[in-house]
Symmetry: C2
């Protein structure tokens, strides 16, 4: 059990690609629609998988429970999902003592790149790299669970939001 404090930002340009320390390929889907819990199945690099229960809501602080599960079971759960499978490449980008996760989306969410930083406390300060754009932490449309149902490619105003 853990509280997750995460802030999410749009990404400007591709300078972040010069500082990648690690990368993985993620497929994930949600087993819940509009309930209080968000339940995610995630398969990473086709090698490991997790089942994650998170409290929902625009709170900066979310309750999170994550369990390792066999990849084959995760695959078998995908047909039980709501919405589409989210596919993205996640790059780990260290910057001045913090670690950024930069997600480049594929499929129906192609064109979207988001950066997340995980903090230990709500008020924790952190340095913003130059490639960080507007904060979207509280914008529900950028939740991965929302992107599964309303992908970036069909947003009417996506050109204004891509940086």
């Amino acid at each position: 059990m853990a509280f997750e404090i995460e802030r999410k930002f749009l990404v400007i340009g591709d300078a972040w690609q010069q500082s990648i320390s690690d990368e993985s390929y993620i497929r994930q889907a949600y087993l819940t629609g509009r309930d209080r819990a968000s339940i995610r199945v995630r398969i990473r690099d086709n090698r490991t998988a997790t089942l994650t229960v998170k409290s929902r809501g625009a709170d900066l602080k979310r309750l999170e429970f994550e369990y390792e599960i066999p990849v084959l079971e995760a695959e078998a759960m995908l047909p039980l999902r709501c919405g589409a499978i989210i596919e993205k490449r996640r790059a780990i980008v260290p910057f001045q003592g913090h670690v950024w996760e930069v997600d480049t989306f594929f499929g129906d969410n192609v064109g979207l790149v988001l950066a997340e930083i995980e903090l230990n406390a709500v008020g924790e300060t952190f340095a913003r790299p130059q490639w960080i754009g507007a904060e979207v932490t509280s914008h529900a449309s950028y939740y991965n669970s929302a992107l599964a149902n309303n992908p970036f490619s069909i947003w009417a105003d996506r050109d204004h939001r891509s940086a």
Copy 2:
């Protein structure tokens, strides 16, 4: 991963109580509403807990994935539920080579007693004890997930269904 083949029946009288081989006290809740997956948190005897993902539907055969989780995490997930917490005492009742689970419900479902038998194949035959009443396997209102939202105590026709 497993397929679960379960049949569910109403219970007549209390003769089954003479053959109980084991008993446990169950609290459980559902993290999903009306989605394709049913996701259950179950706490047994306040000592062990599971998170279970099942495919939904009136099929006799349901896909089921069950994971042991810490009791404290299960307790912390309960507030994320849809509907009420289901409370029941589960009695294990062996009968002629099969094992029946007889659930006596409490709280908002008081008055309801259901017996379930788990089978290895859809067509598997089994002996029916005298205390077994009408089959309700395909009656969605008797799903525990349905009872969490529409408990037995408010059914208009419950007197006709209790045996």
